[in-house]
Symmetry: D2
Subunit: 278 residues, 4 copies
């Protein structure tokens, strides 16, 4: 399944400023970049970099006073791995790969330590496995209202657990926090999402089950197979699509994610099967 994704962002820079972007699709086992363009106007130097512990392709731009626009366009082919969800198990901490252990710890927006009793009370008696993480997503979908503008960049899972309103990043943070509180490693994913209305960047999460990471999205705003990854992190603090240092005024933002027509290939659809990404 192929997608054409990208964005066009523009800014007014009121004094020389530093901007860090994280909006490029990453290349990995299940995500193949067929074509990719990135244009910065004016054509400033950009420093691209990854970090060892998260899958993101950041770039930094030092912008002078004036206008700045960034346009990104990529054609990506996805080959997700589908697994029967009943076979997907939770892994005890004794057997977890050592490199996923950090995804058990609390982070800025996912205070799993403070939500331990709540997670036990709501989900502690459920059968462990893929279905328990699904139950967490259902709980969030049913009890938290998706409401644009109801939260801001400081809102965390601890807030959402009681305030019961939020957007995609809040839904992801709460799912992650509940998972970690139950000793299920979980990480935040930023991406493009097919068919998202209104078009925007999207956030969802992955839980480590059996021997790999599986996609979960409590918002139900896009089919799981239509999620194209930008990167992962412990929470939104690791994967903001844009971070500013200086006096930067966002102006326009356009985001898109369309399926590329291929004869015989259907549109992404919601599924109850498990989708692994690594």
């Amino acid at each position: 399944m192929k997608f054409n994704v990208g964005c066009k962002l523009s800014y007014s820079i009121h004094q020389p400023s530093t901007l860090i972007f994280n909006l490029k699709v990453i290349q990995n086992d299940y995500q193949n970049i067929l074509k990719e363009t990135l244009e910065v106007d004016p054509p400033l130097d950009r420093e691209e970099y990854g970090l060892s512990f998260v899958e993101n392709q950041y770039f930094r731009i030092n912008a002078p006073l004036g206008k700045l626009s960034v346009s990104y366009n990529a054609t990506v082919e996805l080959s997700h791995v589908y697994v029967e969800s009943e076979t997907v198990q939770e892994v005890p901490p004794a057997e977890l790969p050592l490199e996923v252990l950090p995804y058990l710890y609390p982070s800025r927006y996912c205070q799993s330590d403070k939500l331990g009793n709540m997670a036990q009370s709501e989900f502690g008696d459920l059968q462990p496995g893929f279905s328990r993480v699904t139950a967490i997503c259902n709980w969030i979908y049913e009890k938290v209202e998706y409401l644009s503008g109801s939260t801001d960049s400081q809102t965390s899972a601890y807030d959402t657990a009681t305030q019961r309103a939020g957007v995609c990043r809040d839904f992801a943070h709460l799912g992650i926090a509940f998972c970690r509180a139950l000793n299920i490693p979980a990480r935040f994913v930023a991406g493009y999402a097919y068919n998202l209305t209104p078009p925007d960047f999207h956030a969802y999460f992955e839980a480590y089950l059996s021997d790999r990471w599986y996609i979960f999205d409590a918002t139900r705003l896009a089919p799981q197979s239509g999620l194209i990854r930008i990167g992962t992190g412990r929470d939104a603090a690791d994967v903001a699509f844009a971070t500013f240092f200086g006096a930067v005024q966002p102006e326009e933002m356009e985001v898109f994610a369309h399926q590329v027509f291929e004869p015989g290939v259907k549109a992404p659809a919601f599924t109850t099967r498990a989708i692994a990404t690594s």
Copy 2:
């Protein structure tokens, strides 16, 4: 039904201090004080006072350096009014008596404004009336662990909603906050409780339904008919049994609440009927 209740409190006063106590049983329509003694040792002056907006009989003592002990003993006869709970209704704000309106507003430990969405999500679809407040109490009983020492004097309903552990005052605060969030006036009650184990002061709450206040206790630690009132307030900030200004070290605390034997009178028992107190 008659009860003998009281307490014996002792303190070390490390510098001249002011202590405000709120531990005397109040006299009202359903609670008749048959006998009452209050001893302060050394025999210091005490200033007794009530406040216009809450039913409490406070007294203030200015204590010199040394030991202080306060002993209280009262024999009280209760005549609760029992009502069939199906007949007990919620009252719309348009018809609420004006003097109960303040019990709709958020207070220090009952941030009903921050718990509005949660209350709607959990209880908004339930049939209004006595049964909805009962559902709130059942939810608290099932989802919050009663755990001595798990909270402190700064813990509020907003914390308990997620931390899911607490003691009687936390249970009461959460019940009150949920009620107010649903436009049901609710107030905090401090009292003595028959058969409480271990013996201690107790806290529970009342909701204003139909045309009076009804007792609710989400802890299920004592039968409703065995609750003897000290006073009421918007939350624990109004009815602390003891408040200190100075260097006061609590030493011993003994609290008791026994039924007075009367031929043919049974012990207090749990009931699903509604008990009104005013």
Copy 3:
């Protein structure tokens, strides 16, 4: 000094709703109402009421679907008592009048219990008295930015202590919380303010010193002698100018507070003297 104050508020009522207003100037020793009109359009019944423990003149309106407007206009003469500030003392809890003790306790937006160490650290070593409360106001003025829209109705003193931005009610809440943490009774005041730009309702606070309540306003937005009182309470939860139950959409809001010209009477001016209100 005479003022003409008032407001004109209009609402769209999307379903029959209950509105509680608290916008009438109160009559008391230092505030004499010379003339007063209140118009409700359509001319619905209103129930006026006070509460025993706060000075406010509330009224309740049950409004049908449609438009609602409320216009209030009063001419008020103020005769404040000026006192030399060096003579104004803090009162130890042992000697405080019993009826002001509740203003030492924490409330919804003034969590003095959580700000005890901070108050001690910042103000504990200062000379007690009027000058210490002034120091609190100066601290707030210097460290908290007055920024419209930076806070909402859930923001409390605990938030403002770190977030360092807010509006008049946040400034008042923080001042009150610091005072109570230092055992100085403090209460919230809602009022009209001469010369306020942009025109709006105003909030400030009073501290109980020597033998009466004194005005403090950390915002420095209006001269103390130009503050016309609507009412008092433990915090904003007691004195919201409008509270809605139902589907009410605020439309227009106009607030004014002008001095009435009198030959030889100057305009209100900022002062470092203490102004008592009771």
Copy 4:
């Protein structure tokens, strides 16, 4: 300067459990391990591992029911780099090495995003550089009380900013949060500390200035040159000395950090010079 450091920890394991330890001294440019022993009793397998993004040498033990003890002992030689503090500069985000950028972002216990205004208000006008981070440490030392038992594992910089009491990890978290809020990269360091009373693990922080990381310790409990590093992280969530999954009861804990006598070598002493660690 040589130190002999280590610990002896013992646990009762009430059901088979997983324990992750992070208590080994790390080997790096300025820290040379001369001798090291680690004993686990019973002699269970342990899996040692590092993580790519933090300097820590974790090990995992899966322990059966019964007793478990872990004894660690290392002799370490430190060769810190001393720099004249006036020459140590802050680095603008435009020039920061890309790999330190994550240490600008908020983390679980260091909510720099929520403390931005406070950091600006308290430190925004100070001269940038080493002296500004020193000013942050002085502020914390003066305004926050070091009080054992005043906080717990959920306490964060946001809490400490107002509650003004804490232990070494709280002091470090607050220092880190203020630095990040001012765009100074900062990270948490866990270590052994010479002369610490009572003996315990210690926490402090490092700020990235000029072209390397510099040590800061707002507690003033140990000379900077007597700090022996276990590891670093974004905050305490990355470098807990022990993390449990299961029913583990800590029993005894002994920690030590002595200087090894060498003729002519003085004891560690407090300094106002800057000490770089990388």
